[in-house]
């Protein structure tokens, strides 16, 4: 057998498979330990910063000061660790072959402790996911695994971290499949299960096996209660929309601020949070203490309504100002408060026997999680695992489904992907993902006519004529800002506007495709484009990799057959 022959390749693959399994276990343990350590560090930071009963001055100053420090560090030292960490993990998996620099998990750990421990209304689970995924990526690259294996270990690390963060092994696996990979049938299910189990075993050996929340054994008291839970689902969907729309709107507003403010935006958010905490200290940090009270019927109606509303505002401000932290725990908090409030109302008004408000708080948690995070399977199992109450699962599923449907109807793009799109990153969706078959990259041509934004219209017109294309892209290959048709250029030249800058004519809303888009998507979008369909990178939607015109489509139609591997 010659070196490099088929049996050597098989041996190499078998060796990698064994290494991968062992690594999945180690990664699961390491990610779980990181998540535990992260949680402990946040609690310790909270105690150091605030003590047991902080004064008003301290309550205001701590989030402001930590925001200031965080802002500087996020710009100068750890630029990739703002926000939740889940969107970044997804981007790394889908677009960067799982490559997460080692600085990222370290930075996320430190910044998360600073921001969440400093009082910001954010969760620690999302950052844990990025920390776990980052550790997995770093370990895999250090072990010189193939890029495909490095990529595959990212959701394994994410699952391990989330399993330990919430003490929810099943939900962690589902989250990795449903949200990170986006495919419930992924062949990585075995590795994520192994990592999740290893993580939880280690976490429970250190922290014990207590559920996250101690709740009574709630159950469906009367079949007619399903109507009430359905109403909760509808309300949850509306509240989810309110949260998501607010988050995206305020984030867009912060992004429009001058670039020199980026380092100070976390401090602005910190000062706002400081003021909020003076009035409503309950929204500080993660807020598990108050979720526990809501689940056990320990809050009155007015308090729950107030906390739900203020938590939405506080989380939106904390997140959008650029602090490092997630939205899992705030979703649960808002859901518990809203659910509990609805439960109290139902208790008072319903003509049939109803359960305790705490039961509605529990279902409310899952409802908001399903509506905001848009992971319905994960939300059902997560609520079951963190409360260990199976009796309430039917109402939970009903409410989750309604919330999910409403949220999806009026916010078609899930929150994590919407946040990435705001950063110019477009993730492949399940419907556009295709491992085999013809894709846009197989059709596109590299010769794309460009005109700089300041170029005169006459010059742009000439370029278009030279290329023979029906349209010209405005900008550069690395930064496209718009498209202008040849008809429009010709009309402008005729009208005597030849010396005007071409960007005045450019249409900035450019119909485009990505390299991995299947041909049916290409054809569908070609019908809506200006005769020239740019093919842009997913990791930067303004970077042009090629273009598809009628010629390319005609060539494709003439040679179409099974795509060669």
């Amino acid at each position: 057998m010659t070196a490099g022959g088929p049996s050597d390749v098989r041996d190499l693959q078998a060796r990698e498979n064994r290494l991968f399994l062992a690594l999945s276990i180690l990664i699961g343990v390491l990610a779980g330990l990181a998540a535990v350590l992260f949680s402990l560090a946040i609690d310790r930071a909270d105690y150091l910063f605030f003590g047991l009963a902080p004064s008003p001055l301290r309550t205001f100053l701590v989030p402001t000061a930590t925001g200031l420090v965080a802002g500087i560090l996020l710009v100068r030292v750890f630029p990739g660790v703002r926000g939740s960490g889940v969107p970044q993990t997804k981007a790394a998996f889908h677009l960067h072959s799982g490559d997460i620099p080692a600085r990222v998990p370290i930075g996320k750990f430190l910044m998360g402790v600073l921001c969440i421990g400093g009082g910001h209304s954010m969760g620690r689970e999302g950052p844990s996911v990025q920390i776990g995924a980052g550790l997995a990526s770093a370990a895999a690259r250090w072990l010189r695994l193939s890029p495909a294996r490095v990529r595959e270990l990212v959701p394994v690390g994410a699952a391990g971290a989330l399993a330990a963060a919430f003490n929810t092994p099943i939900a962690a696996v589902l989250f990795a499949l449903e949200e990170i990979i986006g495919d419930m049938n992924a062949r990585l299910i075995g590795s994520t299960v192994v990592a999740s189990v290893a993580s939880v075993v280690v976490q429970r050996s250190i922290l014990g096996d207590e559920p996250l929340f101690r709740v009574p054994a709630y159950e469906l008291v009367h079949p007619a209660e399903l109507i009430a839970y359905a109403a909760l689902g509808v309300a949850g969907g509306v509240i989810s929309l309110l949260f998501c729309k607010s988050l995206l709107a305020l984030r867009r507003a912060f992004q429009r601020l001058p670039s020199w403010t980026v380092a100070f935006q976390p401090a602005i958010g910190g000062a706002a949070i400081g003021l909020v905490l003076l009035a409503v200290p309950e929204v500080k940090g993660v807020g598990y203490e108050y979720i526990d009270q809501a689940l056990n019927g320990g809050l009155v109606l007015q308090a729950m309504l107030l906390l739900a509303g203020v938590k939405i505002a506080a989380t939106v401000v904390s997140y959008c100002s650029g602090n490092a932290g997630g939205i899992f725990a705030p979703s649960l908090f808002i859901g518990a408060m809203a659910g509990g409030a609805i439960g109290m109302a139902v208790n008072g008004l319903a003509p049939f026997p109803t359960g305790e408000p705490g039961a509605y708080a529990m279902v409310g948690m899952g409802t908001l999680f399903a509506g905001i995070i848009r992971a319905p399977m994960t939300s059902v199992f997560m609520i079951f695992e963190i409360t260990q109450d199976y009796q309430i699962i039917v109402p939970l599923m009903v409410a989750n489904l309604l919330s999910f449907v409403i949220s999806q109807r009026y916010q078609p793009v899930p929150i994590y992907e919407a946040l990435l799109r705001q950063d110019g990153i477009h993730l492949p969706s399940a419907s556009t993902r295709t491992p085999e078959g013809w894709a846009a990259r197989d059709l596109m041509a590299g010769d794309v006519p460009f005109a700089a934004p300041e170029d005169p219209i006459l010059v742009a017109h000439a370029r278009g004529l030279t290329s023979g294309r029906p349209a010209v892209l405005v900008g550069t290959p690395d930064r496209m800002i718009g498209i202008v048709t040849m008809d429009r250029l010709a009309a402008a030249v005729e009208a005597g506007r030849r010396d005007e800058a071409v960007h005045a004519l450019a249409d900035t809303d450019v119909v485009h495709v990505h390299p991995d888009h299947p041909v049916d998507v290409v054809l569908e979008r070609f019908a809506d484009c200006a005769g020239l369909l740019p093919v842009v990178s997913r990791s930067d939607a303004r970077r042009v990799e090629g273009a598809i015109g009628l010629d390319e489509i005609t060539r494709f139609a003439s040679r179409r057959g099974p795509r060669r591997a």
Binding site: A3, A22, L30, L33, A34, D43, L52, V202, P216, D292
Partner: protein, 396 residues
């Protein structure tokens, strides 16, 4: 598996960026490097585990200290009557130290005390489910249910608390718990159950005056004056001046019809209050007013009977005006009869059986007056009725 480019070393095709020929040529080195790194990673994981465990242990200690601070703050708030602040502090304590059931128990008790019965019940039931052998949660539930009027449920929880695990040094506390249950049963007139519990508790109690008195009082309330007197006597042997034991013993002796003994007990009470004074007076009147008492002279016997009949007649005369006319006439006739009989008694030579008949008359008249005109009744009236009951005299 299509090659993508060539290896710069040997010119072989690369697979996924790696040259299989070079790799396989140096299998040993490659294998060792990968395994070595995996081992290093495993060591890192072990070190991370040990570090995390140490940090978690330190965090646990800090949490317990914090929980204690919150608990002490809660106690302070409770002492100062700030219930809501106390509840907040107790919730924080319970959250900080989940392992310690005392905080949750205190929270449950405080919730119950503040009227948040549903929350208290849920929490205490959960605690009881976790620790069925612990009496405190059952006791807290018993008190809660007793307060809200669910006496049967309260009784079951009391019994569950009594059946839980108790250490020998907790005998006094357990006894107090049983006495609480007895009080509950007596309040619901469940005398048989109360008596069963009393027999249980009295079988093994120390001679301490306080304990003996407490048990004696409950026996008295349960209608067992003889047993009660036994316990009071035991208490008084240790502390002859113990007020509640003396009063209890007097009550017990009174209930047994032993008025002379009752009189001896109350005479030893220092600073008697109104009730004790009345008791003493009644005991004196009974002992000094009974014409059938042994070893008294005939004159004294007649004097006593005279006094009894005269008093009965006076009571009837006082009662008559408030009655309908037909009853009035009857009462007046009875009063005249009693007066006549009294006059006859004053004459010398009335036989003993006449004394008994006279007393019987006086008793019946007093009973009739008591039924028609319950108040006011003078100590002598009460004494005459007691004398009649003691002597087993007839009803009207």
């Amino acid at each position: 598996m299509a090659p993508h480019s060539s290896c710069p070393t040997c010119g072989s095709a690369l697979f996924a960026g790696r040259c299989l020929a070079c790799d396989t040529k140096h299998w040993a080195r490659f294998l060792h490097r990968e395994l070595l790194r995996l081992l290093v990673l495993a060591v890192i994981v072990v070190a991370a585990f040990l570090t995390t465990r140490a940090v978690a242990a330190d965090d646990e200690r800090l949490r317990r200290r914090q929980a204690l601070v919150w608990f002490e703050l809660a106690q302070q708030n409770l002492d100062e009557g700030r219930i809501d602040e106390a509840l907040t502090a107790l919730r924080r304590a319970a959250l900080k130290d989940r392992e310690n059931p005392e905080y949750r128990l205190a929270l449950g008790r405080t919730l119950a005390a503040s009227g948040r019965d549903d929350q208290a019940r849920r929490l205490l039931l959960a605690l009881r489910e976790e620790r069925p052998e612990d009496a405190e949660a059952a006791l807290a539930l018993a008190r809660l249910e007793a307060r809200v009027g669910s006496a049967d449920t309260a009784r079951r929880y009391y019994e569950a608390a009594l059946a839980a695990l108790w250490r020998p040094e907790q005998a006094a506390r357990r006894r107090e718990l049983r006495l609480e249950l007895i009080d509950l049963l007596l309040s619901r007139d469940e005398r048989a159950r109360a008596l069963a519990q009393l027999l249980e508790v009295s079988a093994n109690i120390p001679g301490e005056p306080a304990v003996q008195t407490a048990v004696g009082q409950r026996f008295l309330d349960a209608g067992e004056p003889r047993r009660a007197l036994g316990h009071f006597s035991t208490a008084l042997r240790e502390d002859a001046r113990r007020r509640d034991a003396l009063v209890g013993a007097a009550d017990a002796a009174f209930a047994l019809g032993n008025f002379a003994e009752a009189r001896r007990y109350v005479s030893r009470v220092e600073d008697p209050d109104v009730r004790v004074a009345e008791l003493a007076e009644t005991a004196r009147l009974v002992t000094e007013g009974d014409p059938l008492t042994a070893r008294i002279g005939a004159a004294e016997r007649r004097r006593r009977l005279d006094a009894a009949l005269t008093r009965a007649a006076a009571r009837l005369e006082a009662c008559a005006p408030s009655q309908p006319s037909d009853v009035q006439a009857d009462l007046t006739a009875a009063a005249i009869d009693a007066t006549t009989r009294a006059a006859a008694v004053r004459r010398r030579g009335a036989p003993l059986d006449a004394i008994e008949d006279g007393l019987d008359l006086a008793y019946r008249l007093e009973r009739r007056a008591e039924m028609l005109c319950p108040s006011p009744d003078m100590p002598l009236d009460r004494a005459l009725i007691l004398i009649g009951q003691r002597r087993g005299l007839g009803e009207p």
